[in-house]
């Protein structure tokens, strides 16, 4: 079981887009805008994720918990994970609806329940607020889905509630372009499905023992994004290894305990962020070792690997 928290790392340039559009739209007559375009990225969202592997089904279950920070201006009403992986058996809290985007690698959870409506609610023709959105300071869990693909770092998008732009007629919108979901959301990174299991970096220097430990879904000297998700697989080729001898140092700091079993054989996953881990922006070196039996012999040997990766 993995559990970790992640704050957003960047926001879209919607403000810049809106400023640019306001310049462009200077020519037409004064528009009768009733509801202007509102920046729906005005939320501060922390995502906690738990990843477990079910050996019976062969699926990883990704469970998310969202916390809307006190800095959020809007109530959170949508949360999407960016992934190309197959996603199934999605679950959502009451009043929320899970579903994929069309032709986009996004899996979304949206607050759709509107009842009970606010006592002062008046139907203006616009989209009403949801009764189950996440208000500033609140936490809501129960978002989950399964996937056959292992964990890697993915982007997430969170959007706050705001009425959509409204005007008397179409001409009033002249010069105003409505951004799509990904351009009008708070963007962060979290853990989701999508690891490339076809990529295993095993060191390559001592073929007889390289299979004792391999890094899955990552190549040496890759540039990664935070949080860094490192998957290890012991006995890549079915070798016999002694997992009690496993050691791992990230930038010379012991991180062996950060690699947690997912339940998928001898697979372990470690998640490293700037806060609470030795990972740094720039060059990072993860050094591992594990003892095992050299195939075809009774001899014990050690497989030591060094994975270098970079953080922009």
């Amino acid at each position: 079981m993995l559990d970790f928290e992640r704050h957003a790392v960047r926001k879209p340039g919607l403000l810049a887009i809106m400023l640019a559009l306001s310049c462009v739209s200077a020519t037409p007559a004064a528009a009768e805008i009733i509801v202007p375009l509102i920046d729906r990225s005005q939320v501060d969202v922390t995502v906690s994720v738990d990843v477990q592997f079910d050996a019976l089904t062969g699926f990883y279950t990704y469970s998310y918990q969202l916390t809307s920070g006190l800095g959020s201006v809007l109530d959170v009403e949508s949360f999407a994970v960016e992934t190309n992986a197959e996603v199934l058996n999605a679950q959502a809290p009451a009043g929320w609806d899970p579903g994929p985007f069309d032709d986009q690698p996004l899996f979304d959870f949206a607050a759709v329940q509107v009842e009970p409506l606010p006592p002062d609610y008046v139907d203006t023709g616009n989209i009403p607020p949801s009764a189950v959105s996440i208000k500033p300071g609140e936490t809501l869990g129960g978002f989950s889905f399964q996937s056959p693909e292992g964990p890697t770092t993915v982007l997430f998008y969170a959007q706050g509630y705001a009425p959509v732009p409204q005007a008397d007629d179409e001409d009033d919108f002249e010069g105003i372009e409505i951004p799509i979901f990904t351009e009008n959301s708070f963007i962060g990174s979290t853990v989701g499905p999508g690891r490339d299991d076809g990529v295993v970096f095993a060191g390559g220097r001592r073929p007889s023992v390289d299979g004792f430990l391999g890094f899955v879904g990552v190549n040496d000297r890759d540039t990664l994004i935070l949080p860094v998700v490192i998957s290890l697989r012991f006995a890549v080729n079915g070798e016999t290894v002694d997992t009690s001898t496993f050691t791992a140092q990230l930038n010379r700091v012991d991180v062996a305990g950060s690699f947690q079993p997912t339940g998928n054989g001898d697979e372990r996953v470690g998640i490293f962020d700037l806060a609470g881990s030795p990972v740094v922006v720039g060059r990072n070196v993860l050094v591992t070792s594990i003892d095992g039996i050299v195939p075809g012999t009774a001899r014990t040997a050690s497989d030591g690997d060094a994975l270098t990766f970079f953080i922009d």
């Binding site: 069309d102 996004l106 759709v112 329940q113 023709g125 179409e170």
Partner: protein, 329 residues
């Protein structure tokens, strides 16, 4: 026509230049011979050395070109959009008078081009003599072919789609012969718009008999998105159907929803705005006043996941959806 090349030095941005030659008799043509004058077509091209050349098309080539529904096709222009998508659609054309038998150019020939409406075309069934359909223009509409034998002009497409007839006549200023006219057609349209067919999962509304009876032409991608939207909505609310209003007219271009006097309180006239984005097949209006609060919420979610951006317009109350990803021509 495959050898037609962009006319060097012209304002044409995207379309091939087309040249038409009006074939006449040799330098001195008497009225008695005028009945023998025939029409031929020529074209500009760039030869292997990169030099621009003019070639007079054979009679057979002209007949083949004239037999097509339109001599050339062009997208409607887009003007007055401050979103930066304004595009003047132009096509350079060169006219010349030539000897039909020798192929020699008749120099200093006066050539005039006029345009004529095709009634009931482009999805516009309304006719109001006080407001004739914009046909675009040839700029300049007339001139002398001069010492090189060619009169160069540019067709500038209107914002309104539909067929436009053009007539070209010439006068040999040296020989005094009148060169009989040719008449050809230009098709102004947004290509590849497809009618959204009727379906039990949605209602098509908004057609106006005698004005615009086909108002649901969209790009194939947009139509697929709309169908998915309606399907998901009906699946969520069994028995309920979205009421789908205007997408675009069959050939795109300006959708003058205020085509008849009194249609719009704001006083717009035929061939004008509003409805300015309903010209490329990637915008649709959906009636909203019959949609409950719960349904509105679901509607927004479905639209968002389909990459359709959403606005609300009040007069009359409706959702306006735009498919992000399809840009004007």
């Amino acid at each position: 026509m495959s050898q037609i090349s962009t006319y060097r030095g012209s304002m044409c941005r995207s379309l091939r230049a087309t040249a038409i030659a009006i074939a006449g008799m040799a330098a001195v043509v008497s009225a008695a011979f005028a009945a023998d004058l025939r029409i031929g077509i020529g074209e500009r091209y760039v030869d292997e050395s990169g030099q621009e050349q003019m070639r007079v098309m054979t009679m057979e080539e002209f007949m083949a070109a004239a037999a097509t529904p339109q001599f050339f096709e062009i997208r409607p222009s887009v003007r007055f959009l401050s979103s930066g998508n304004n595009v003047e659609q132009e096509n350079n054309v060169a006219f010349a008078c030539v000897n039909a038998f020798t192929g020699q150019l008749i120099l200093f020939c006066d050539i005039t081009v006029t345009l004529e409406d095709v009634i009931d075309d482009g999805g516009h069934h309304h006719v109001d003599p006080a407001f004739p359909r914009p046909l675009g223009e040839f700029d300049p509409p007339s001139g002398n072919s001069g010492a090189d034998g060619f009169f160069d002009t540019t067709y500038i497409a209107p914002e309104v789609s539909g067929s436009v007839l053009f007539r070209v006549v010439g006068v040999d200023t040296i020989g005094g012969a009148f060169i009989p006219p040719i008449e050809l057609s230009i098709l102004v349209r947004v290509p590849n718009l497809v009618n959204l067919p009727p379906s039990p999962i949605y209602d098509l509304i908004g057609d106006v008999p005698g004005v615009h009876i086909f108002n649901h032409f969209g790009t194939s991608v947009m139509n697929a998105k709309v169908t998915k939207l309606a399907t998901a909505f009906t699946a969520k609310f069994p028995g309920r159907k979205l009421e789908l209003n205007d997408i675009s007219l069959p050939l795109g271009g300006i959708f003058d929803v205020c085509a008849r006097a009194g249609d719009c309180a704001s006083g717009q006239k035929p061939w004008q705005f509003p409805h300015r984005t309903h010209r490329f097949g990637d915008n649709i209006d959906v009636r909203s006043f019959t949609v409950s609060a719960t349904e509105k919420r679901e509607f927004e979610k479905i639209a968002t996941r389909l990459k359709l951006t959403l606005k609300v317009e009040n007069k009359p109350p409706h959702f306006h959806l735009t498919f992000f990803g399809t840009l004007p021509p």
